[in-house]
Symmetry: C2
Subunit: 301 residues, 2 copies
């Protein structure tokens, strides 16, 4: 899994920072997560292959998380897209995008499919043979979901030495990878455990932005390999969190600690601070494995 941060600053775009957007490469998918203004330019800047994006997940309908979506949808049309585009986001997103396209008499020439969300509990919103995506209900000023991206278990790995030793026929390999026993030329059954090795552990990534400190998400994101949790403020401004429904770096770290995740990526920084290193320092006091998101930065999970 590879995560690329296209933008990770809160509020208004500036010449040198961008609002929230991320690209997650997971198995054969390229998922776009949130789409602040300028996302399509960031996609170009970091040479992401536009056409591979088939699923866009929008956390909430604040401008810094979705004002880039009408433009990206239009650009796909201008680039001659033909394949389906699926948009997952809060109820209302379909009406908003549809109105913008209607006003410009600019309907897409590819299928644009909206999956509007309004559930209060975590729900499965996407699934195929390799990946699942669940919502993570967050508490913000408007209806908001994070998203939990999980790889499904890989097939078991063939133990080449063992299958050669037992002279197992190649025609059985796929079944063995999926858990079957093998049979030798002489009809002797060999257990799957003797013919295979453990596959890589499937990974998971939890995206949580924007949200106030909210422990109810802990069971949903428990043991995720990587957690992105917003940290708009430092503890010195913690009283702003209640009104704005944002979190501090320390609170993000507390959630990471309680959920026992593999690592924590901080982001959605208020632009009032002179260095984002301050967020890392604060979080490290609570949780050991902290990374800082920054525009253009990539993480291998």
């Amino acid at each position: 899994m590879k995560l690329t941060i296209l933008g990770c600053y809160s509020a208004t775009p500036r010449t040198f920072t961008n609002p929230t957007s991320q690209v997650l490469e997971i198995r054969n998918h390229l998922f776009l997560i949130d789409c602040g203004e300028g996302t399509q330019v960031q996609l170009r800047k970091y040479k992401v292959k536009f056409s591979r994006i088939k699923h866009i997940f929008i956390s909430h309908l604040h401008g810094d998380h979705f004002f880039g979506l009408p433009g990206l949808i239009s650009t796909f049309r201008l680039l001659g897209r033909e394949s389906e585009l699926h948009i997952y986001g809060p109820k209302g997103i379909k009406e908003a995008i549809t109105l913008f396209l209607k006003l410009g008499d600019s309907w897409t020439n590819y299928p644009l499919i909206f999956h509007e969300l309004n559930a209060k509990d975590s729900e499965l919103v996407f699934e195929d043979e390799q990946v699942s995506v669940h919502t993570i209900p967050l508490e913000h000023r408007v209806y908001t979901n994070g998203f939990l991206f999980k790889e499904k278990p890989y097939p078991r790995k063939l133990n080449i030495d063992a299958v050669e030793e037992h002279e197992i026929d190649r025609s059985q390999f796929n079944n063995i990878k999926n858990g079957a026993s093998g049979v030798t030329e002489n009809g002797v059954s060999i257990s799957n455990a003797d013919l295979t090795l453990d596959p890589p552990k499937p990974k998971s990534y939890a995206f949580c932005s924007d949200t106030i400190y909210n422990e109810t998400i802990v069971p949903i994101i428990a043991n995720a390999d990587m957690l992105y949790h917003e940290s708009t403020f430092l503890e010195t401004e913690s009283k702003l969190c209640k009104k704005t429904k944002h979190s501090t770096a320390k609170q993000a770290a507390l959630i990471a600690q309680k959920a026992d995740v593999g690592g924590l990526i901080l982001g959605h920084y208020s632009t009032r601070y002179k260095s984002i290193d301050l967020f890392k320092e604060e979080a490290l006091e609570v949780f050991p494995n902290v990374e800082l998101a920054d525009d253009g930065k990539s993480f291998t999970i």
Copy 2:
């Protein structure tokens, strides 16, 4: 009058070019004309004082001319704006912007006033003591207006030598600037012409984008000091103009010639050409005073 081009390329924003937006400084006003995605970042990049913008003119509701508007309106709120913001644009713009703000529960805390346009003939849409703005009905795929910005006549300039020679009292100066005669201490009337000099000629700027070649605009923009006319294509692609309702550089120059304008600025270039110099070359064959718009470039009119 000073015109700053924030973006002047057609279709999709790229890392090095921006969709249409311009800032016009005219008398005491700073007008924003069109607002493609990323305009607020361009405003920052070229250090335009945001807060001075009180009037935004939107030609039409294609994305490359207005998808930056929701973000700019939101940013004004975040920056604590209190003064009125007037938006002039096609019918439907109010519903679109209002829906976006409603979905984010992000109403402005300053007065946001929409002036929706649907007239087919040129009309006065803004006027004060110093400036007037008329629409220029254009012919494009959707309802579109250009805008004609005109300075009102300046007051006459006091001829300092003459008023001193005639010992005209200072209390009469304002009246004289506005056309009155002067009266000496001895009660002798001195004609206004003898006490004043001609003021600078009021200037005008016509913005015409997007449009197919359309001679009906010629009487409206006749004798404008500067004309911005879209030139999406070169003559080699002229057959695309009919379907897309755009113009070639040559057609823009023909309009400039027929309207006898002071100068022509080309823009809204298709990104298919390797150099925008080709547009200038083509237009110069028809009209002598041609300039090329480019992102960040300023023109004094």
